[in-house]
Symmetry: C2
């Protein structure tokens, strides 16, 4: 295991599209949506085992989730949980953790990963991550992972690869032609029909000097803040200064801040069974079903004449559902939701205070 390898898990999301399972107090990355006993952030941590040592795992999250992270990832050092005092999108988050890691190890090689995605083929995932880390260890390169699209998904951004421009060092890695915003259905169909478009997984690999230098060039305001803090990283003054300085950062995504501007941007087209499992519907597609198309997660769930439903009620002792087709039935924290799967985009409305 290369001791320069570091994993950064971005876990500041407040995703509540799995309400009532997920709430702003307990967002998606901290819930066990498949009923496997492991939450999304735990599964994320698990799939880097052997690639990154526990002491090189970093989590950036909101202060209010600090205890949840420490509880769910007890093997990583508590001091590696970095706390954002407010939400400023991904660029300040990545800048903070990058300077923080650089202050400890200037040769660090980083994977940036969302906390709440699913990967089904972890062996292939580890191969792709390993190859990418090898590549960025030797090159001043930003590597993105592009997922081979299986459908004209309108919920993801796309990466257009220049398939004529493979890297000399790794024939699986290509230069990026352009980044595309979430498309409409017509455009998404065109992307899928062509070969060079990939879903943007939000997983990035680079060495710490590459990202720090890119931020210095493209976001000097943000860079100056975190560079000026070099003397306090790892001291007991760090959090107080972060609480003071972090809110001064511009709120901007790493995609806008760096990816769409920098030159040495690459994409590794990969296929390891990836999903962001953003919705109950995607869970329904991904999770195992019984013979009637039901995903059932709970202690004692009994279904009668019920098809194509997602039943998620681990806090109930007993659940009986009769005569439903295509519904979500979810209960957590004394909150119950029964709604049609096809209406799940209204969960924000349903869960409003």
């Amino acid at each position: 295991m290369n001791q320069n390898n570091n994993l950064v898990i971005m876990a500041g999301g407040v995703g509540s599209r799995f309400w009532p399972m997920s709430t702003t107090e307990y967002p998606k990355q901290f819930i066990d949506v498949f009923g496997t006993g492991r939450t999304f952030i735990q599964m994320t941590y698990d799939r880097f085992k052997g690639l990154v040592a526990p002491e090189n795992v970093w989590v950036v999250t909101s202060e209010k989730y600090a205890d949840i992270v420490a509880e769910q990832l007890p093997d990583m050092p508590k001091s590696n949980i970095l706390l954002e005092p407010c939400r400023r999108n991904t660029a300040p988050c990545i800048a903070y953790v990058s300077w923080r890691i650089k202050s400890k190890n200037p040769k660090a090689n980083l994977v940036i990963s969302p906390a709440d995605h699913l990967v089904t083929d972890v062996v292939e995932f580890q191969r792709v991550i390993g190859k990418s880390l090898d590549f960025t260890a030797e090159n001043d390169a930003i590597v993105t992972l592009g997922m081979k699209p299986t459908r004209p998904e309108t919920g993801y951004g796309y990466i257009q690869a220049d398939l004529q421009a493979a890297s000399l060092r790794n024939k699986e890695i290509f230069r990026v032609d352009s980044f595309k915003e979430k498309p409409n259905l017509e455009t998404a169909k065109q992307y899928v029909a062509k070969k060079e478009y990939y879903w943007n997984s939000g997983i990035f690999i680079w060495n710490v000097n590459t990202i720090v230098n890119a931020l210095r060039v493209y976001e000097p305001g943000i860079s100056n803040i975190f560079e000026s803090m070099l003397p306090v990283y790892g001291t007991d003054k760090e959090q107080a200064m972060i609480n003071e300085k972090f809110p001064q950062c511009e709120s901007i995504s790493i995609d806008y801040a760096v990816m769409e501007k920098a030159d040495e941007i690459f994409v590794f087209p990969a296929d390891f069974g990836w999903s962001d499992v953003g919705t109950w519907g995607s869970l329904h597609t991904l999770a195992p079903t019984d013979g009637n198309g039901n995903n059932v997660i709970g202690n004692d769930v009994r279904l009668f004449e019920t098809r194509n439903c997602v039943i998620h009620a681990t806090e109930e002792k007993r659940v009986v559902v009769q005569g439903l087709d295509g519904y979500i039935v979810a209960e957590k924290g004394n909150t119950l939701l029964v709604c049609k799967l096809e209406e799940e985009q209204r969960i924000k409305e349903f869960s409003a205070e």
Copy 2:
């Protein structure tokens, strides 16, 4: 208030047709099915206020419900809660409480009432009970209350009145021609078309000597058991002896044991908004609904495109239901039921261990 008036509430039922609200541990008579803050047995107690003094209220129930009764009816004496060691239908239950009351007051005048029925017009109810008690105070008569049928209900027994034979003492009270078992739909329709058939409410009025004498004649085996216990009633030996003797009683209903055999049987046809609320469907018919035909009982229930449903979830902080028509959604004690109202006769199947 006549101090001879006594109320006997029969509360030994194990009805679990309102599962998961009702269970054998907490059967229907002890649940607040309307969300009013009062359970069935409390509503039963309440509707006799002014007619019967608290110290003259008696409850016969199973030993395992003793604490629930004491908690729900704190104003009546705990010593008036009589405990059956086993279930022997209504005749032994009524025999026990009748001798028990007679030992205290040989002039007692009794109303026997189920614990789990609904009455909506309590003023009329009190008038009818008052008139009936006046009648039985002066006559050796068994008075039943017959409910004017509003539909060809197959779930109730019927009483056929001899409308030519009004009592001389009370023109509203008639001799009974016959008792009819729960009919099939065809027969029920014939009953409703005629004028002299009434639903058997299971509410009886008589003085204590009438019922004791009737039992002596028609059920000497049962009578002997409770008559022999006269020396121990009200002493600390009562429960032990009941536990020993009660199981020896034949299991038989008061209808079979007495009503269908005795001569001086009367019916008071009445109309005070009565229902036994035996099912979720009857609750749906009886309880107030919103503009879309939903009965909603819960702290924070939000409905979207939902019609003709019964939502009963007082232990949930928040319930959201979208896109259901004609369903029961009920949650209690970490047990959740979602099923079609029209399938509620299968609740026994749904609730099986």
